[in-house]
């Protein structure tokens, strides 16, 4: 099975391990991610201004090009996923805006595409039971905090992925890998997102509360589906440690990295230099 894949700006550079592990795990599960040719930026934020049609041009072009190749588009980055899925919702529900934007980009788009996150592919196309059947190294006993953040789940009606108040897609995946998903109150909170560039203090505080919440519930590892969350939760740990005596860090991995390890991938692919808190000791302690 092949899926048209939209990597976005970060997945071939700062978020390369997210992409590499996602592709490797996909191959082990029997599907390939095929890069959409000549893709452009998704826009990085969904325009919340109703009069800002220009900001829909770039994501709509991505949708239109993907549609020429099939009826599904897969993303890994939660930001791209949010922007493309919400734009697609506008295209499906607002004929006037669709006509305006497609006329501007000079590309037809019938709004017939389905935008899927990699997690949705695992749940709805492959099935978590089939994933469980491919596990080579059971993550038994590993206490993992799934971090949803804001973009995967909200707004519920448009993302239509899971319940923002009580999501389970991440937990179900972790359970399929044999890990013990940690339930903690901050799992769908905001990490500070792009505010890290503008209000560093806000992003550091938000990220600290998330790390502390997961730690408090016994997590040894946190996984995310977003390069922005990964950066805030990981990079801010140096700042958190400065502001708090006895601060205990928490390793943060992309969920694909853990998935790939469980499916037989080499844990040595995880580069400790990319992490403030080295994830390898936690994995090694479980014999991974």
């Amino acid at each position: 099975m092949n899926y048209t894949y939209f990597p976005g700006c970060t997945l071939y550079t700062k978020g390369k391990s997210f992409d590499d592990a996602g592709k490797a795990a996909g191959e082990r599960l029997g599907f390939s991610l095929e890069e959409l040719p000549s893709w452009t930026c998704c826009g990085a934020t969904f325009p919340l201004a109703e009069d800002y049609d220009m900001a829909l041009a770039s994501p709509t072009r991505v949708l239109a090009h993907s549609r020429q190749r099939g009826d599904k588009l897969v993303t890994l980055c939660a930001v791209c996923h949010n922007v493309l899925k919400r734009t697609n919702h506008v295209m499906k529900t607002n004929d006037e805006r669709r006509a305006k934007v497609t006329e501007f980009i000079e590309e037809p788009y019938d709004a017939g595409l389905e935008v899927l996150h990699y997690l949705e592919v695992l749940r709805d196309e492959i099935g978590f039971e089939a994933v469980a059947g491919k596990v080579q190294k059971n993550l038994s006993g590993l206490r993992v905090a799934p971090f949803y953040g804001c973009l995967l789940l909200r707004p519920k009606a448009e993302m239509a992925m899971d319940d923002p108040d009580a999501p389970s897609i991440f937990e179900d995946l972790l359970a399929a890998l044999g890990a013990e998903p940690v339930d903690y109150p901050m799992k769908a909170e905001c990490c500070g997102a792009f505010q890290v560039v503008h209000s560093d203090a806000m992003a550091t505080r938000c990220s600290r509360e998330i790390i502390a919440s997961a730690r408090g519930r016994g997590a040894e590892l946190l996984v995310t589906a977003c390069p922005l969350c990964q950066f805030n939760l990981e990079d801010r740990q140096a700042e958190m440690a400065r502001g708090e005596q006895g601060f205990k860090g928490l390793p943060v991995l992309y969920f694909t990295e853990l998935l790939d390890v469980a499916l037989g991938g080499d844990p040595d692919r995880i580069d400790p230099d990319k992490h403030h808190t080295d994830p390898r000791p936690v994995l090694q302690a479980r014999g991974l």
């Binding site: 970060t10 919340l48 109703e50 209000s199 203090a201 806000m202 922005l228």
Partner: protein
């Protein structure tokens, strides 16, 4: 706090513009305060999210446009998720930002970021921030 209302300011052009850009009516809100309770960013804000909408209802948009609140909002949508009246407050925040950005009131300075920071920060952080904090002109 004593507030003197000015009837001429209620529903003024700028507030109507905010509602138009946001595609939301500020009058749907009945001030339950759930948005402020849910918002993860209030410690850094100088006006609560529920106060932003209250001041817009009362024609006190000057206070709202002087507040840092819309610039601290990360559009995480916790507020719209909990709102019992279906108000998408994040859209109102975006409209308030837009009206300032469209006048060239940039909130960040690209040249201020040092090389070490840019080498660490993922592209998505920088591009999202440029979209949220820089004018289009």
């Amino acid at each position: 706090m004593r507030v003197k209302l000015d009837g001429d300011r209620v529903r003024n052009d700028r507030i109507r513009k905010v509602e138009e850009i946001a595609d939301q009516s500020v009058y749907r809100c009945y001030q339950c305060g759930k948005c402020s309770a849910a918002c993860p960013a209030t410690p850094e804000m100088d006006m609560l999210p529920s106060q932003v909408i209250r001041y817009l209802q009362l024609g006190m948009d000057d206070k709202v446009f002087a507040a840092n609140t819309p610039w601290i909002c990360a559009s995480c949508l916790q507020c719209m998720t909990v709102c019992p009246k279906g108000v998408d407050l994040a859209r109102l925040m975006e409209a308030i930002r837009m009206l300032q950005l469209r006048k060239g009131q940039n909130q960040i300075e690209i040249r201020a970021f040092d090389r070490a920071y840019l080498e660490r920060a993922p592209q998505i952080a920088m591009i999202s921030a440029y979209r949220k904090f820089l004018s289009l002109s």
